[in-house]
Symmetry: C2
Subunit: 337 residues, 2 copies
């Protein structure tokens, strides 16, 4: 039975959604759950729900990383945090994967250095799913695991993103693109031009450059960029959505008759913001580490936690790490200029 360690203390509302989501996952997905965190709290929370006969166990951790902790400090000093213990369970083989809705920077550090990288992977990448206008999903990576990436790193991100996409969304030959500032091969910066040349030589279904506005139009499946760019792209998307919501709210509340319109559009907005919030996709995997690590949004609800467990399970079942190792090793070695 696949075993998933759930950092039960990570999210903004922990441990409530973590425990609820874990119970739903154990019931519906046929997986074993290790709930990691402060034992008394977890026992109390578990007692509120019926979970008889379900494969759920508590694994104690004495510390909690908060959203205000500095990621590097938390990683170095809170060695018995629920995130650290969850990662140790994966490293020690007691769990196949761990999920956390905690402090993204700290959880990335715990996953990267606690689990270590796959032998052929030079840098990990955080892969964020986005909804597209045509009802599908596009995955943007890296959204912040690294900065100052080299062309070879972007090629590795492309391979990892493509394998993840196949495993989760079932597309046989996902379309892979580079995020740039024009479609032509000559457009972009030093990094993307060199990465373009290498991606052309790769066995991937590489379709060339896409621009920022194309992330959402469904024309491609996997979009690759440096983590500095990807993180800004993600945050700007959230910012624009919040900004539009605020402006519309104002506009729609201005007259009595428009209140009806407001209620309707508020619903449409909520659904959009739910979609853009990657916890609805079960969180973003940190690809390239030994074992599977899924990082959810801090505001993850029980459904998001359950979905994160589902994604983790599918990545384990799909043998994603074996494929990453195999396909990166098989990449053509570029001739250095």
């Amino acid at each position: 039975m696949i075993t998933i360690a759930v950092d039960a203390m990570g999210g903004d509302n922990a441990p409530r959604p973590e425990v609820e989501g874990a119970i739903a996952a154990a019931r519906e997905l046929g997986v074993r759950i290790l709930l990691v965190g402060l034992s008394p709290e977890l026992k109390k929370e578990l007692a509120k729900h019926s979970h008889r006969g379900l494969p759920i166990e508590i694994v104690p951790a004495s510390e909690v990383i908060t959203m205000d902790d500095s990621p590097s400090q938390a990683f170095r000093k809170k060695k018995d945090s629920s995130a650290h213990v969850a990662a140790k369970l994966v490293r020690g083989g007691q769990a196949d994967a761990f999920i956390s809705a905690g402090n993204t920077g700290a959880v990335m550090a715990v996953a990267r250095f606690g689990l270590g990288l796959l032998p052929s992977v030079e840098r990990p990448a955080l892969a964020a799913p986005f909804p597209t206008s045509v009802g599908g999903t596009a995955v943007l990576l890296d959204v912040g695991a690294n900065v100052d990436s080299k062309p070879a790193h972007l090629v590795q991100f492309a391979v990892m993103g493509e394998i993840y996409y196949r495993a989760i969304f079932g597309t046989r030959r996902p379309k892979v693109a580079l995020l740039s500032i024009g479609e032509e091969e000559s457009k972009g910066n030093e990094l993307t031009r060199e990465a373009f040349a290498r991606l052309k030589l790769s066995p991937l279904n590489f379709t060339g450059n896409v621009e920022g506005r194309d992330i959402f139009n469904g024309s491609v499946d996997v979009i690759v960029c440096d983590g500095f760019i990807g993180n800004i792209a993600l945050k700007i998307s959230e910012g624009v959505a919040a900004h539009i919501a605020g402006m519309l709210k104002q506009a729609l509340q201005s007259t009595l008759s428009s209140q009806v319109g407001y209620v309707l559009s508020r619903k449409a907005f909520k659904s959009f913001r739910k979609k853009i919030d990657y916890s609805e996709y079960g969180g973003a995997p940190l690809l390239g580490v030994k074992g599977v690590a899924i990082i959810g949004h801090g505001s993850s609800n029980a459904l998001a936690i359950r979905n994160a467990v589902r994604v983790a399970t599918e990545l384990v079942r799909g043998g994603v790490n074996e494929k990453i190792e195999q396909e990166i090793s098989a990449l053509p070695v570029p001739v250095e200029a």
Copy 2:
């Protein structure tokens, strides 16, 4: 009298909005207009409007750059294009500034190489105004004039953006920030960390890093980044806005009662998209060139053209280039490591 050359053939609907906007500008702003383009078309278009006694003249140009032209090809081969001729009028002193709603890449090349850079400026920057949630404006630069900027370039962009902001929005000490992936000085990539250190030493009102979501919240006035990042930020904003509009339209058209809501929200959306479309701000100046060059959106209407003339006039009146030259020359010279 300040003289503005208007590339009358540049925009998607040229020369109609260009001619209408130029007439409005000559009437309302007390400036002289040189309408540059194919004489027969411009005479025909002018004849449709009353413009008696207004200081408007046609300056012939035999070629037109289209939106499909490659910017570098158009710049090198169409030497008698309306954009080239408009820039030549500035270079030759017959005009103080030129505006164009044409092919952005081609117009940037014409402005940069046709006008040349100010002596102390190493690279120009395209400065795009954005609406903020609190009803103000933030300026993001560079949004695509350069890629692979060095820290010293970002500092120059900050100085130029701040001077432009003061001239157009009247703020005495605009807040200047770096676009990065975390607020702390240590967050970011090699480029932003070094630029941060230099901006702290500058006389600017530098407030530190902002993240992507903060562009719209009104916390800062001038936001500096490399042109690769800025271009992607701009395009993603447009993409998210279009995406949300599409999803809301769908949601609001689903029931009869929601049609009222749709009509109302469509109006709110139109106003938002007008705001985010920088032609409503009169276009984006290419800062750092000798003379003033304003680049409007291809879809610019007559009001946008008129506003571009207004912005050009204010930049000329404000002596922006003299200030840029003076303040960049006075920057502290960093000690190289």
